[in-house]
């Protein structure tokens, strides 16, 4: 069963305007790599050159930010959801 990746509006230009893309992978990182093969350019939007999720992007596995799990090594089960969500942050 594939994994569903939810795509935020600003990144849908990489997905032919689809809000969800189904991918394969045992971890979040593998799923995002698979997403990049289907929708080239998305990986670079989500992760920096060091392979770390960009500060202004959040990747959720279910309800949890993967930063508080195992990062891109966080395992994902078939049929689960991954959400790419732009951060809402700022400061004075």
């Amino acid at each position: 069963m594939p994994i569903s990746v939810k795509i935020p509006t600003p990144l849908r230009k990489f997905t032919a305007n689809k809000d969800t893309v189904e991918v394969q992978g045992a971890t979040v990182g593998a799923a995002l790599r698979d997403l990049d093969t289907r929708c080239p350019g998305l990986w670079a939007k989500v992760c920096d050159d060091d392979g770390k999720v960009r500060r202004f992007i959040n990747v959720y596995a279910g309800d949890d930010d993967i930063r508080f799990l195992q990062g891109l090594e966080t395992p994902v089960a078939d049929g689960s959801d991954i959400s790419i969500i732009p951060a809402i942050a700022g400061g004075c």
Partner: protein, 350 residues
């Protein structure tokens, strides 16, 4: 040379220089020396005090004009050097010159430890803040900026004179707004907030006092931490407010390199709450957050987070910024992304 990080006088008056290693003393010397070159009485007094407070060795010592001398005579000239704040008496006032690395910016915060102590607070209340961009080592302009601020502080606190208007100007200025006489705008700076008028959400929000009250109450209750929340619209078109937790401290604790700020000067919202609101038929129209002891401007950090690379992450969403000074809401401004300028424009006040 004395370590300037823990200097107290016999009255418990304390000047704490945090995050400065011995190399930082050069900057402090520059601070006092620049003050000394200013001909004003206030700056001369500040130089004298800075020389003793900061390095305890007379750096910046100048002839003090009579009007300033009387005030300064109240300060004991023999500093008592202690090992740390735990050994200090309850401080009368607390100048906290915090040097925190936010890229190339530096904070100079003034706190009132006495007020915090009276109120049983663990941390002193911050009463003023100056933040500005600087390089390392400090430039003459930086030192002048610090010096001018310190002169105001000393005038107000040491000499007992009402603060100069310059304190408020420094206090509330967007640290990353284009500079005027003291520091030119950096060429690589992020797009800045502009003043292009935009109609919209602020006027609508202010037509519903209960919503305004809810936002302001959340901002005041969270002080001295930044508050944040969602402005949502239901299927019938009605606005509603949803305060949300500020997760900044959690992210800071997890990764202080990527998230160097705490909730005192930053916010991070749980973005999943937007999806949950959508499940209830509520659409996101705005995001609010507070600035503690700072103005209601759309800061460089706000711009970078809302539109990294000049591209808004939440197109069409408005940003309400609430200024909270000393725990009291003072101002609020609504900002919209302006595609033409690539920056954020303040909506005119209704």
């Amino acid at each position: 040379m004395r370590d300037p990080r823990h200097v107290f006088d016999r009255y418990g008056r304390q000047l704490l220089v945090s995050g400065v290693d011995l190399a930082g003393q050069g900057r402090l010397h520059a601070f006092a020396a620049v003050l000394a070159t200013d001909a004003s009485e206030v700056a001369a007094a500040a130089a004298e005090a800075a020389g003793r407070y900061l390095v305890g060795a007379g750096v910046g010592r100048v002839a003090i004009a009579s009007a300033a001398r009387d005030g300064l005579q109240a300060i004991d000239r023999d500093l008592v050097l202690l090992d740390g704040p735990a050994d200090a008496e309850p401080p009368v006032a607390h100048y906290y010159f915090a040097q925190r690395e936010y890229g190339a910016s530096v904070d100079v915060a003034v706190t009132d430890a006495a007020a915090g102590w009276r109120e049983g607070l663990a941390a002193p209340a911050r009463v003023a803040t100056l933040r500005y961009e600087t390089g390392a080592p400090a430039s003459l302009e930086d030192a002048v900026a610090i010096g001018a601020f310190a002169a105001d502080l000393l005038l107000a606190d040491v000499l007992g004179v009402e603060p100069l208007p310059a304190i408020a100007v420094c206090d509330l200025r967007d640290p990353e707004a284009p500079r005027t006489e003291r520091q030119p705008a950096r060429q690589d700076a992020a797009p800045q907030a502009s003043t292009v008028p935009r109609p919209g959400l602020l006027r609508e929000l202010k037509e519903h006092q209960a919503l305004v009250d809810a936002v302001f109450a959340d901002c005041a209750a969270n002080y001295p931490r930044e508050a944040c929340g969602l402005l949502l619209r239901d299927a019938a078109g009605a606005l509603c407010v949803q305060p949300t937790p500020n997760l900044q401290d959690r992210y800071h604790a997890l990764d202080p390199v990527t998230y160097p700020r705490t909730a005192r000067t930053a916010y991070k919202l749980n973005e999943r709450l937007i999806a949950r609101a959508a499940d209830q038929g509520l659409s996101l129209v705005g995001i609010y957050h507070s600035h503690c002891d700072a103005g209601a401007y759309f800061s460089g950090e706000d711009v970078r987070c809302a539109a990294p690379g000049g591209e808004p992450l939440y197109p069409g969403v408005a940003w309400l910024v609430v200024s909270v000074l000393g725990g009291t809401v003072r101002a609020a401004e609504m900002f919209h992304f302006d595609a033409e300028s690539g920056g954020f424009a303040a909506e005119p006040q209704p």
